[in-house]
């Protein structure tokens, strides 16, 4: 389908919302890697991650018209849905990722993250993010990524890392502020 492959994320989401099969196909192909990646990162369970990823695409389709570009990129919006779906599923299964996650979440800093970004045209943003995270002390970076990308609560990070809850909260606060200041994010 000439043209659809080159469509912007926004235009593709629009086609997805209105039911264009070609657009839906391309939309799924464009984002399925990241959607599956986050689902897997949060659940650490292949089968469950597959279900979460499918559910997220269906939910995104159902509410595509409510996407507001002022609040962020399509990819961030979609992955926010993935996070919520994964947390819902984990709650239902009474299984928290904390017990399934023996290692600190440094894997997001792997080299394939920027590669993945190339596919959706977010390379610059990813590079800036990675640079911002590189500036953080390791314990702050680990804590921030555990909460944002693995869906752990501050208490779960505290138990996992064996540090006081107050320390986790402080690390979170300092890390998020530093990244914000480094990126120069302001309220629109």
């Amino acid at each position: 389908v000439k043209g659809v492959w080159d469509a912007s994320d926004e235009a593709l989401l629009a086609g997805y919302a209105t039911g264009d099969r070609a657009a839906a196909s391309v939309f799924v192909r464009r984002f399925q890697g990241k959607v599956t990646g986050l689902a897997l990162m949060m659940t650490r369970d292949r089968a469950l991650a597959d279900e979460v990823a499918q559910d997220a695409f269906v939910r995104a389709w159902r509410y595509a018209a409510s996407y507001d570009p002022r609040r962020g990129a399509v990819g961030s919006w979609l992955l926010g849905i993935v996070r919520n779906v994964a947390l819902d599923r984990l709650r239902v299964a009474e299984r928290r990722p904390a017990v399934l996650l023996p290692d600190p979440p440094e894997d997001v800093m792997a080299a394939d993250a920027p590669d993945a970004a190339d596919a959706v045209g977010e390379r610059d943003s990813v590079d800036r993010l990675v640079a911002s995270l590189d500036d953080l002390p390791p314990e702050q970076r680990s804590t921030l990524l555990a909460v944002t990308l693995h869906g752990l609560s501050a208490r779960e990070v505290s138990e996992r890392d064996g540090v006081p809850l107050g320390t986790v909260k402080t690390r979170l606060r300092l890390a998020l502020r530093k990244v914000r200041d480094r990126l120069g994010v302001t309220v629109p």
Binding site: Q54, S66, L79, L133, R180
Partner: protein
């Protein structure tokens, strides 16, 4: 009433932004945000950073046939279970997806430039017309007179935040969003609004009802028409942005 100072709320801002704060601290912090624009901005900016972090997610290879399974699920969700409806919409040229709720143009917003997503919604409305016969199915077998239908209220980010109940006689809608104030504040809205309830039936345009004040929650609003034909109920703001939707 919040007893937290700005300094205390700034200490909690990151956890609020990351949605990992709960209990009394969360309630107190949200109460403070209701009256403090500076702290609201602080939380909003941190929330944007939290969302940006999703860009770092590494890709993973989906399971074989993943795309087909998603497209099949969309097709299943779009086509009502009736033998008269083709099982494969692609084979008939029908869309694979049902239309989604569209942002309305509230009275106060009329005359403004129509956002692109509204144009998309108009395109979705054409899809509704193409499926007109299909949509009539719901009216063929109405619910019992005293029955009420309920559906979860889902935010733009896919979060389940409450419930919508439709009463039949008299026709009315009751919207329950326990953390409505928190939801609005988290995404930089104003508690005062105004907000509108967009009720979409099989018709070409949605009906709009003014949402009562937050302190009159849960909101019960009489409907002008029958509740049996309601397909979705959304809360939208004066700019036409959809905040959450319940689909029936």
């Amino acid at each position: 009433v919040s007893t937290l100072s700005c300094a205390s709320v700034r200490e909690l801002a990151a956890e609020l932004a990351l949605d990992v704060l709960d209990g009394d601290e969360r309630a107190a912090a949200l109460a403070h945000l209701q009256t403090c624009a500076a702290c609201r901005d602080e939380v909003a900016s941190l929330t944007r950073v939290a969302d940006e972090l999703f860009l770092l997610v590494p890709e993973a290879t989906p399971s074989p046939g993943f795309e087909d399974r998603v497209l099949d699920r969309l097709a299943d969700a779009a086509v009502p279970a009736d033998p008269a409806i083709p099982a494969d919409p692609a084979a008939t040229g029908a869309p694979i997806a049902a239309p989604v709720p569209a942002a309305p143009v509230p009275p106060a917003a009329r005359g403004r430039r129509v956002p692109r997503r509204r144009l998309l919604a108009a395109a979705a409305a054409l899809v509704v017309a193409a499926l007109g016969a299909t949509l009539a199915l719901s009216a063929r077998d109405p619910a019992p007179e005293t029955a009420a239908r309920t559906a979860p209220m889902i935010t733009t980010a896919g979060q389940d935040v409450g419930e919508v109940a439709l009463a039949v006689d008299p026709a009315a809608v009751t919207v329950t969003i326990p953390d409505w104030v928190a939801l609005v504040q988290r995404y930089g809205g104003t508690v005062e609004g105004p907000y509108w309830l967009m009720v979409r039936t099989g018709g070409s345009s949605p009906d709009l009802y003014r949402v009562p004040a937050a302190d009159q929650h849960p909101w019960r609003i009489p409907l002008d028409g029958e509740s049996g034909t309601v397909r979705s109920v959304s809360v939208v703001d004066d700019a036409g942005t959809v905040w959450c939707t319940a689909t029936f």
